[in-house]
Structures are given as C-alpha cells and as structure tokens.
C-alpha cells in the first residue's frame, strides 16, 4: 500500500520503514487515534465512592484523583503498535487533573505542570521499584510532617503508576500479535530496561503517565537517553538497525497524536514536545550516535513535525550530521531547529551553572533551555513595546518632551526596570512565606512529576516547593524588534534629521498617522529596520537586551529562585496586537508585529543572511533561557545539492556569528497565497524561477501561480 507524506521539496521522501509502520503513521497524522480523548475528558471520583471530599486536604484529593485515573482511565492499544500506553483523558490537554467529582472538575483551576523535562534516565535504569526504594530511604530520615506527607504521596503515586501499568499488562496478555509488547511490559517500567526496545517502551510509558495525569513534560536528549541501549543491542546482535528504526518510529508516531482533527487555537497536537538531539555530554564528548540518525531518518520519511526536533550544533559538528539535518529541513514543516550549543553553554556557565551541568542542557519541551531532570522552570512573557508606548511615551498623550535619544533610551530602560520589578513582586515573592525569602509556601500538589525530578525525593519537597536542584522563573521579553525599530525611527526622524519636533511626532502617532501618509511612507521606506544588517538599529536592540539581562541579574540572590532573562513571543504578537497603538516605525494601531527575536513582517528586505546577522549582533549569551529566530525559505531556495549547501551554510554562519536558537521553515503554498494577497509582508520571499532567483512578489500573477502549483507538488 502507498502512503504519501507531504513534502515541500521535490526531492522525494525516502522509504525505509515497513508498510504497517507507515500505515500507522498515516492514520495517526490523519487523527484517527487521538480524537477519543475529547470523548473522555475525565474520570470521576464518584467511581471510588468517595463521600467526604470537603474534609480532604488538597494533597489527599490529589492522591485520590491519581488513583481513580490509574484504575479507570480508558486503555488504548492501536492496531500494530509496537509501543503501548496512551494518555486518553481530554482535560489533561487543558493542563488539568482529569478528574471530576459530582460532575465538576476536582480542581477548578490549573493543576498540571508543563515546561519541564524530567529525568527519564533514572526510571529506565532503576524502574519504579527503584523509585520506591529511594522514597523509603527518604522516609526513614529525620523529616518534618510535611515532608512525610509528600513522600507518602510519592509512594502512593508509584503504586498508582503500577496499577495503570498492570492494567495494560492484563489487557495485552491475551491479545494475539502483542506478545513482544507484553513481554516488554513484564519488565518495564517496573524493573530496569535491559534492551533498546524495553528502554523505548519505558520512556514512552513514563511520559504517557505524566501526560495522562495532566502534566506536559518534555522528552529531552533522546539520543543520550537511548543511545547506550541501542549500542549494546547492536553489538550483541540482538537487534538490527532497521528493527530499531521501526521501534523508535512508533515512539514518534504515538507522539504525533492529533486530538480533534481540526483548527484548535495554537494547534491540534496533543503532546507537542520538542526533542533534543546531538551535542556534547557533561565531559565535553560528542554524544551523536545511531539514535540521532534514526530520529532523523524517521522524521524525514514520515514528515512528523510533532514531536519537533532541535539539534545541538557547535563549531565542530560533523558535516555528515549537518547534511542529514539539511536533507530533513528541506522537506518543510519547520520540523528541525538548531541550538548553537557553544553560546548556550556559555550562557549557562556565565549565569553560574557548573560546566558539567551546562553541557547537559536540554529544553523544556519548547525551546527554553534548562538542565533536564533538575529544574523547576517557568517563564513570564511580557510585551516590551507596550512599555515603550504606555509608560515611556505615555500613549503619545501627555505633553512629554524628550530632548535627546540618550534621554529617550534612558527613560525606556528605567520603565523596563520598573516593569521587571513588578513582575518579580507578582510572580516570585508570593511563592515564599512573607518575611522569609527561603521558606516556600505550600503549593498545589504535583507529586507525579516530582517523582522524576532531582532532588524532590531526596529533599522530601515537591517540584513546586523547592524540590528540584534549580528553580527558575525567567522573564521573557517580547516585541523587542519593534521597540528597536520605534526608537530608531524617533532617533532618525526627530533627533538626527530633525524633520519634525518630538512633540509634533507624538501628535502624529496619537492620531494613528491619520492625515500624515507621506510621512508614514517616508518612515516605512527610508529606514532599514532590524533584520537588514543595519548596525544603527541592530545595536539598539542589542543594547536593550543587554540592559534587560543586567536588570534581571539583580534578582538572582534574593530567593532560591533564579531570574534569568530570555527573549520570546511564541505567538503572543497576535494577542498583543489589539492593545498596541501606532508605532514610530510607521505601523498603525492593532497591526501584528514581530515574533520572537525575528524582524517585523515586511521590514526584512535583505534576505536570510542579513536577518541572521542582525540577530547575532546582540550578545545572546546573556539571554540564559533562550532567544529564538525564525527563518522562512521557499522550497525553491533549497532545491538540489545547491539547496543543501545553502541550508548548511546558513546554519554554519549562524553558529560562527554567535546565534542561540534558529528554526528554519520551508514555506508551503499557503504562505505563497498569502503573499499574493499581502505582497507588502513578503518583500524578500525569493523563489527559484528556473535558472535564476526572483523575489516572489515581483513576479506577475501567472508566474506566481505557476510556482505555487509547482511547490504544491504539481497540483
């Protein structure tokens, strides 16, 4: 049977996997299996006949909830799946504990944990029996009543994990065709994994249980986690590389579960967790192994963009790996992103992490960097353009007069500093008992993830109450490109060219540029904004980021929580748009502006290399938890051998220049259609016409349509 997986490239996706795996992938990508989660939002405590719930503490309620999930959550075994276990309750997707009581959610508000990457290596190595021993050891220490209750909850949750596990065992015991799966589950996750297949099963089962109970954990460095198991199996001849590919493919297919098969806000994926590949280990040795390449094989063949992949690159990364990455990127979908680990590790060690810890970084499931299995992480996004507009420029309302660019910049940084102080007071201080900056307040229970995070069990403290080795709340600045562009436009227009006074310009902006179209056109077309490799504006952005990071560093020694800076918007530029007013750079009220640390749509005129250069002028090693850049290329840019070279050169340049994180997307025809409707937003979208490049928007309609058709696979 033939199963076609969409590619933006005219290079065909290779076929290495067997038909039944390809079929399973095809069905999963067509949302065959995930939709049942919507039918089963939660299980009910009423099943356990619990009466006096009002007298329960939160922890008791949580324990009862986990038990009822373990006993009653629907089991799902898909036809021909090689890996078993599934998160089948819909409310878990909404960050909730998927448990109801008398028809209402057991906990009304948010109760799950996300943005963490647990320590899977431990469960693979010691099994949940080993966890139990660890917990008992801690219970035997001289501990407080609170610690005792937490550790008892840990034991209870391990028991629940076992209950859920044993239910799968019972189900599989008599299912023909699932003998291997049954055999694996007789070992893991109860006992240590003894081979690659068991290790993959244990990893998935542990992930799925965390997911089932309302948490949203990342996976981390999958080649580090699984590499040794595969190496041993291959050496002993227990497994072939093709067999290993099939097994790992099922892990990825199960990870790309679609939950409603339609538009659903930010996406339809249930798991959406980035996986990290390659890079160096804590001693500085390259970890790249067979698993690294198997993962690339799988996403290249099946076009699975979820789990997405981030590859850790450094100046010495093997050309063979770079080439494989380029080959996969070329198929589109933005499936692979890269970290420049030289900068990331510098950022982490400069911040104070020990080198061996820093070298082991992974992400939180998104691209924010953390030390996996040891970090309680969250980030606080804020709109830095709103600070400029509302605080520094008073909504263009009050009769402010600013005499120089220096004064303007100084005022902005002062306002930024005030905002960060508010953020700290709002999000960090309340976590501690007042008057004491080291005693954590009692938080919402989160025993399940605490089982897999160092040093929760050792310390007898939950993930939310200081259990992990590192506790991070990272303020994330958004809209930075537009702040830089705005300041730059004021600098040029008012202070350098003196085209009009500061006050008169504020009046123009207050009027949302109404009646000042020539001036707006001048501001739009005469200045090279962030993303065009123009030092003057790029260094404004760089300076703001540096100052931002310095301000944050003041808050690192107050509580056990560190306050490292980062840059992101994710998709927030869309929700921020209605609250934003006209910008000095020529944009009107309500426009959707820049995302992450990327240029504002429509301002990047010089192409991808210039964008990367603008981005790299900032000292990104000061953005400890990350600063993302998005690059869009067309399938025609990356055709053939030249195209692979181009991707490799872009990545190599990004590393040489000191980038942090970059996602390269090869755009699909939808983007091209949009470019036809809004050409002003796509000035540098260039296409390979035939023997040459042309900017898409400069082609006439006929040619545009031709290229759209071609890139859609000869419609």
């Amino acid at each position: 049977m033939e199963f076609e997986f969409y590619s933006a490239s005219d290079t065909k996706r290779p076929i290495r996997l067997c038909d039944s795996t390809r079929k399973f992938s095809y069905e999963s990508l067509n949302h065959k299996y995930g939709k049942d989660t919507r039918k089963n939002p939660a299980v009910s405590l009423d099943l356990d006949n619990i009466k006096n719930i009002d007298s329960f503490s939160d922890l008791e309620k949580y324990n009862a909830g986990i038990l009822v999930i373990a006993k009653n959550a629907p089991l799902r075994v898909c036809p021909n799946e090689l890996i078993c276990g599934a998160a089948t309750l819909g409310n878990a997707i909404n960050h909730m504990l998927p448990v109801e009581y008398h028809g209402k959610p057991l906990f009304e508000s948010y109760s799950g944990i996300s943005h963490l990457t647990p320590n899977y290596t431990e469960i693979l190595k010691i099994g949940y029996r080993g966890l139990r021993e660890k917990i008992k050891l801690s219970l035997g220490k001289n501990i407080s009543q609170k610690q005792k209750l937490f550790l008892q909850s840990c034991l209870h949750c391990v028991d629940c994990f076992e209950i859920w596990h044993k239910r799968y065992l019972n189900k599989l015991q008599n299912m023909p065709g699932y003998e291997n799966q049954y055999k694996n589950l007789c070992v893991v996750p109860e006992y240590p994994a003894t081979c690659f297949y068991e290790a993959v099963q244990s990893l998935w089962f542990t992930f799925a249980f965390m997911r089932l109970t309302g948490n949203w954990p990342g996976i981390g460095r999958i080649d580090v986690i699984l590499g040794e198991y595969l190496k041993n199996d291959l050496e002993k001849g227990l497994l072939t590389i093709s067999q290993a590919r099939e097994i790992l493919a099922h892990f990825f297919i199960k990870g790309c579960e679609w939950i409603c098969g339609g538009d659903y806000g930010s996406g339809d994926a249930q798991h959406y967790q980035n996986i990290v590949l390659s890079g160096i280990d804590s001693e500085g040795n390259d970890v790249t192994n067979e698993v690294t390449f198997l993962v690339l094989d799988i996403v290249e063949e099946l076009g699975i963009s979820d789990f997405p992949i981030t590859v850790r690159i450094n100046k010495n990364t093997d050309k063979k790996l770079l080439r494989r990455i380029a080959q996969v990127i070329r198929h589109g979908g933005g499936v692979i992103a890269v970290y420049n680990e030289d900068i990331v590790i510098k950022a982490l060690t400069d911040f104070g992490y020990p080198l061996s810890e820093a070298r082991n970084f992974a992400n939180d499931g998104c691209w924010e960097v953390q030390i996996p299995g040891k970090t309680n992480f969250s980030y606080i996004p804020f709109d830095s353009l709103a600070i400029l507009q509302k605080n520094t420029l008073n909504n263009y309302l009050i009769d402010t007069d600013i005499k120089s660019f220096k004064e303007l910049y100084g005022k902005y940084i002062h306002n930024l500093s005030e905002e960060l102080d508010l953020i700290y007071k709002k999000f960090v201080e309340p976590l501690f008992i007042s008057g004491d900056n080291s005693e954590w307040k009692e938080m919402f229970p989160c025993t399940i993830v605490s089982l897999f995070e160092h040093d929760c069990i050792e310390r007898g403290l939950s993930y939310r109450e200081g259990g992990p080795v590192y506790n991070i709340i990272s303020p994330h600045i958004g809209g930075i490109s537009d702040v830089a562009n705005s300041l730059y436009a004021i600098k040029k227009l008012v202070f350098d060219e003196k085209k009009l006074s500061f006050k008169d310009f504020m009046k123009v902006l207050y009027d949302n540029w109404e009646g000042n179209e020539p001036l707006r056109q001048y501001v739009l077309s005469s200045y090279n904004y962030y993303g065009n490799d123009n030092d003057e504006v790029d260094y404004i952005a760089a300076d703001i980021l540096s100052d931002f990071s310095d301000i944050c560093s003041k808050y690192n020694s107050i509580t056990p929580i560190k306050f490292p800076s980062g840059v992101s918007t994710f998709g927030r530029q869309i929700e921020w748009a209605p609250n934003r007013i006209a910008t000095p750079s020529g944009r009107k009220k309500g426009e959707i502006l820049s995302g992450n640390f990327s240029p504002t749509p429509g301002t990047d005129k010089e192409g991808a290399t210039a964008i990367i250069k603008s981005y790299c002028k900032a000292d990104l090693s000061k953005q400890v938890t990350g600063a993302a850049l998005d690059i869009g290329l067309l399938p025609y840019n990356v055709r053939g051998e030249d195209g692979l070279d181009a991707i490799i050169s872009l990545i190599s340049g990004f590393v040489t220049l000191g980038g942090y994180f970059m996602q390269i997307d090869i755009s699909d025809p939808k983007i091209l259609h949009d470019a036809q409707l809004h050409p002003e937003n796509y000035p540098t979208l260039s296409v390979r016409v035939s023997g040459w490049n042309a900017r898409f928007v400069t082609l006439n309609r006929e040619w545009q349509n031709m290229i759209i058709e071609k890139s859609a696979g000869k419609l």
């Binding site: 179209e517 020539p518 056109q521 010089e606 070279d645 340049g653 040459w692």
Partner: protein, 295 residues
C-alpha cells in the same frame, strides 16, 4: 573610480556555487528582446516609477522641468522632459520614484559583499551580473581583483560580448564563469539581440584555455531557438570546451515585464515565447544524448 550598480542582492543561491552576493552592473552591449533585466541595458542613469507605490502626495510636482503632472487623480511621468536631476526622487516619500542605479566605489561594494563572509563557506562568494559586467571592464576587473585579494570567491555572469584585450585579466580574477549563449545562429542572433555572436564565441574559446570553470547558460525561446540545429551546435560548442562543467537551460519567462512597466510604462511580455515543459525536457534529453552535462 565609481561603478554603476543597479542592485546588490545578498543570499543568492543559484548564481554560482554556495550562498552568493550578486552585484548587478548597469549597461549591456546586447539588446535581447527577451531581456528580463531591462534596467541594466542602458549604461546611463534612469528612473523607476512604480505606480502602485504612488500615494498622490504630489511632492514630485516640484520638478523644475515639469516632468510630473497630476490630472484627475492620475500621476503622469513625462520622461521626455526629465533631465535626471533627481529632485523628484528625493521628494518622493514612498519611493515610488527611484534611481535605477547608484555610483559606488569598489570599497563600498566590497563592504556590502563582505557582510556575508560568515555564510560563504568554501564555495560561496561574489557574483558579478548585470547587464554585462564587462561593459565597465576596467572597473569590473578591479572589483574582481579586490574581491580575490579579500579572499572572496568570484563568479561572473557574462554575455561574452566584450573586448578580448580584457580576457586575461578577467580570467585571472574569476573562479566561475556563467556564460550566456543566446543563440548559435548568426542571423537570428543579430536580429534578436542586435549583434552577431562572433565575439562572444571567440571570447568563450579563448577564455576556455585559461578559465577554471565555465557553465553555459542557454535561454530557450519557443519558436526562435528551440530547434535541433541550435542544440546540435550547442553540444558541439560544449564538447570543444575543456573547462565547461555543464549546460543550464533557462526557459524564457515573462518575469521582466513588470520592470518594463517601471521603466517605460508598458509591459513587454511575449507569452508565445514560453517553451512547453515537454519541449524543455526534449531539449534536455537531446543535449544529454549528445554527451552534454545538463545541469
């Protein structure tokens, strides 16, 4: 010494190997009827007028020659009156009026080319295109020489029509040639490009003796040069060259027509010249069968 440059385009991926920065020089000895960069034909300065960018602010009305007229909300650019003083260009806030080229020094051009050094790697670098780069021969050679001195790989896209006295210098500073062969028929060449092809082929054969890498770029214009005789002659040329790495076929397209609008206020698209996909494939197969490496 200043060079007339119409555009410096970074992140070009099909103008020679690797990521390249392409410098488009103004002026061309040929007048190909299918030209897709008409703004590079004339060596002298010109002005682009983009009607879709005009916001009818009438700032250009200050033209002392009266070249800009507004009637019934329409903007008329009377090019006959224009003396290229540039007052309208500076006055236009939306860049609907722009000079086609800029006079730049070798240093200024190289400064831009060097911006992408981090991305050139082993293969990428600077490509001179146009127009015909060798319409400004001494300047083009100086630029190539300076690039080589700075350690930047060089490529030249040429129509081949230039004085042979520059050939040695050109070849010593050029790593890759992209050599256009518009047609192999002398009469047709004269009719459609304005000159015969003697000089072009002579230069090509002379360059082949000293150049390290040449790619032939051959435009396919339906019903003009899409015939076996032409392909056979092409193949013979290819086979007689020692440094030729391959032939690139470039089907005629109407992409340049929007630039004719900007320059002359009228389109210049000839759809009947677009070759059929099946014919492009035929030409590829024919040349391959004749022993050519078709890229």
């Amino acid at each position: 010494m200043l060079i007339s440059v119409t555009n410096i385009q970074r992140f070009c991926m099909h103008d020679g190997p690797g990521i390249r920065t392409t410098v488009f020089l103004k002026g061309c000895p040929l007048r190909c009827q299918w030209c897709h960069n008409p703004e590079t034909q004339e060596i002298k300065q010109q002005i682009f007028y983009a009607q879709n960018k005009c916001i009818y602010c009438r700032a250009c009305e200050e033209c002392p020659q009266g070249a800009h007229k507004f009637e019934n909300d329409c903007h008329f650019f009377l090019r006959k009156n224009c003396i290229l003083c540039g007052k309208c260009v500076s006055a236009c806030p939306s860049k609907a009026l722009e000079f086609v080229s800029k006079e730049m020094s070798v240093e200024e051009i190289l400064e831009i080319v060097k911006k992408d050094t981090a991305f050139y790697g082993e293969k990428g670098g600077m490509t001179l295109s146009g127009g015909e780069p060798m319409m400004q021969p001494e300047k083009a050679i100086l630029l190539l020489k300076a690039a080589k001195k700075a350690g930047i790989s060089t490529a030249v896209e040429t129509c081949g029509h230039f004085s042979e006295i520059y050939l040695n210098d050109l070849c010593s500073f050029t790593d890759y040639f992209l050599w256009d062969i518009k047609d192999t028929d002398l009469e047709r060449h004269k009719k459609f490009t304005g000159t015969d092809n003697h000089k072009i082929l002579n230069n090509l054969f002379a360059a082949d003796k000293i150049a390290s890498s040449i790619i032939l770029r051959c435009i396919l214009i339906n019903s003009i040069n899409t015939n076996k005789e032409h392909y056979t002659k092409l193949a013979n040329i290819y086979k007689s060259l020692k440094s030729c790495r391959g032939i690139e076929l470039i089907p005629y397209h109407v992409y340049g027509s929007s630039k004719y609008m900007l320059l002359y206020g009228k389109e210049n698209a000839k759809k009947e010249w677009i070759p059929e996909n099946s014919h492009i494939q035929y030409a590829k197969n024919f040349l391959t069968d004749m022993g050519c490496n078709v890229l």
